[in-house]
């Protein structure tokens, strides 16, 4: 494969730190203008991978290619990408202007051009007037924006971001997520974004690369990963999920019949399972509909349960249900005006319906 049309490709990358496996057989292709998130728990290798792309770490085996050409021997300052560091890494002995203009000073651009470019960047990150401030006079969010401007002024082909919003408080973080997404839309630069916050990944990315222990678990759009996780890990890491264990009772042409603790559940045939296999199942709380007896027949699956807790979460309400002696599940319902008439209480027996499509099956 020539990868000539792929902006960035990593081919079978592996890296160890002594005995610790940081990255294992990692392959990825990133297209021009994409917003890709490397998502995973701490220690999964996502930051290591970002640093390998940037040139701060080397691969033990494998290759990194840009438009088909290997860049693995290039020093960081020769690669057409820039990084926004986790703790901003702003130069404390320089002003905001000098920080942002740093790369342009190195390129020996003229004073006028530098001034013009810095002004444009400050407008982009909405920090006009902050030219003479020092990093120690800025708030976290402002520092982050300076770090962003400093990286973007170079017009890199790829912007690498290492958990840039990690140390900001929730409100500012959410605001910056939207701002970052807007900037990316506007500039059409490829973003590779590392985070452990799955909500952040869902909100911002075009594609998510889910990682665990140095390996790729799943790659897909936020929607596909959310609705069709391919493993127990993916199901549990992204969003909330009900996890069940069962045995395949029957394999039909287009669906699987799985027996779970006495219940019979139907799922679309997405994995090659044989009768007798032990499988894991996942169903999102939002897909568990509390219905009346009649309605439930229109769903592919139907189970009964008893409400043991009702928790109000603002815009949703969660029902904690006991299905059987070994199984508890969570169902989520949006609060609308009609749902007032539902008024489900603790102790109620309810019928839950969910489609075959929403029941995810993994061989584990």
């Amino acid at each position: 494969m020539s990868y000539k049309n792929t902006l960035l490709a990593i081919k079978d990358g592996s890296k160890n730190f002594g005995k610790v496996v940081a990255v294992k057989n990692f392959s990825l292709e990133v297209k021009d203008g994409e917003f890709v998130c490397l998502l995973g728990p701490s220690g999964c290798g996502k930051t290591t991978l970002l640093r390998i792309i940037a040139g701060f770490e080397t691969l033990d085996s494998g290759d990194v290619l840009m438009n088909g050409k290997s860049i693995i021997r290039l020093q960081p300052y020769k690669r057409p990408m820039n990084m926004v560091f986790q703790n901003y890494a702003l130069f404390p002995h320089m002003s905001v202007f000098e920080n942002i203009a740093f790369s342009q000073f190195l390129k020996k651009k003229s004073k006028e051009e530098i001034a013009r470019k810095v002004k444009k960047m400050l407008q982009l990150v909405q920090l006009e007037g902050f030219e003479t401030r020092r990093p120690n006079q800025l708030s976290g969010g402002q520092c982050q924006r300076v770090a962003l401007a400093r990286a973007l002024i170079n017009e890199p082909k790829i912007l690498l971001l290492d958990e840039p919003l990690g140390s900001l408080d929730l409100k500012i973080r959410k605001q910056m997520q939207i701002e970052l997404k807007n900037i990316q839309d506007k500039l059409k630069i490829t973003f590779i974004y590392v985070t452990h916050d799955q909500e952040e990944a869902l909100v911002m990315s075009d594609r998510i690369v889910l990682m665990n222990k140095g390996e790729v678990m799943q790659v897909g759009t936020p929607k596909s990963i959310y609705n069709h996780p391919n493993s127990k890990f993916s199901a549990m890491f992204v969003g909330e999920n009900n996890l069940l264990k069962g045995k395949v009772a029957k394999v039909d042409s287009d669906c699987l019949v799985i027996s779970v603790d006495g219940l019979e559940l139907f799922a679309n045939k997405t994995v090659n399972a044989r009768t007798g296999d032990t499988v894991s199942l996942a169903i999102r709380p939002g897909k568990l509909r509390i219905t009346g007896e009649l309605e439930s027949k229109s769903f592919g699956n139907r189970i009964r349960g008893k409400v043991v807790d009702v928790v109000f979460f603002g815009s949703v309400v969660k029902y904690y249900l006991r299905i059987s002696e070994n199984i508890t599940m969570v169902a989520e319902d949006r609060i609308t005006d009609e749902s007032n008439s539902r008024s489900i209480k603790i102790g109620d027996g309810v019928t839950l319906g969910f489609t075959r499509e929403s029941l995810n099956v993994f061989a584990e």
């Binding site: 701060f56 560091f85 130069f91 404390p92 740093f102 190195l106």
Partner: protein, 282 residues
Amino acid sequence: MRKGKTHIWLLLPFWIYYILFFFIPLGILLTYSFWLTTPRGLVPTFTLENYWAIFSKKLYFILILRSIRIAFIAAIICVVVSYPVAYSLTFKYKKMQDFVLYLILISLFSNYLVRIYAWKTILGGQGLINQILQYIGLTKEPLPFLLYSPTAVIITLVFIFVPFTILPIFSSLQNVKPELIEAAKDLGANNFEAFYKVTLPLSMSGVVTGFIFSFILSAGDYVTPQLVGGTTGMMIGKIVADQFGMRYNWPFGSALSYFTLFLLALLVYCLIWILKILKLRR
């Protein structure tokens, strides 16, 4: 609790000590520099005669300038030698940091005089350096300028004061977090540019401190020149010490001291000012 009053009490011992044993003696010394010494003893007056006396003999001024020159060269060499040590300790040999720092500190525990005598032996005609040079055949006779010369004084001073320079430079280098260097490289700086534009400015305060330590301590040193300086390596410290010893001319000794101190302070101030102009300091 009233705002911030406690710390004044905590600082009191410090202030008492310094006022009693530093500022007051310095003040007394300054006063002496305006008095006169006569066969009958010290006469309290106000006169500038002692200061004029400095210029009466060429010797004094020559010695002051030579002391400043020797101290300056020694301090520069100290900094130039210490910086790479501090740098590699910080960035390359992190695991050995504590060990090497202890070694440096321990070298300070060894007796000052013993160290100078050690250098007298090493630099001497039968000393280690000459023996090696003659052995490998580079020289036929012992090099004369290795001992009892300004060179000997500079070499000895460097080795004595390098620990004083390594420590402040090392300390200021701790401020340079590796990610700052990575950020500089990411933005297009090669190794040299990253050092020059990020590491050096941020560690400059340590460099200046180290330089001032070794410069001022060297300029006033009078034991080293006495043991390894000979006549060509004589420094002002000896003359000052003599005034308070054999010659019993305290006013003149004070005037010499303060005048030298004034020149040293002026020089240091100029250096800092030059660095600011060159934008090497923030």
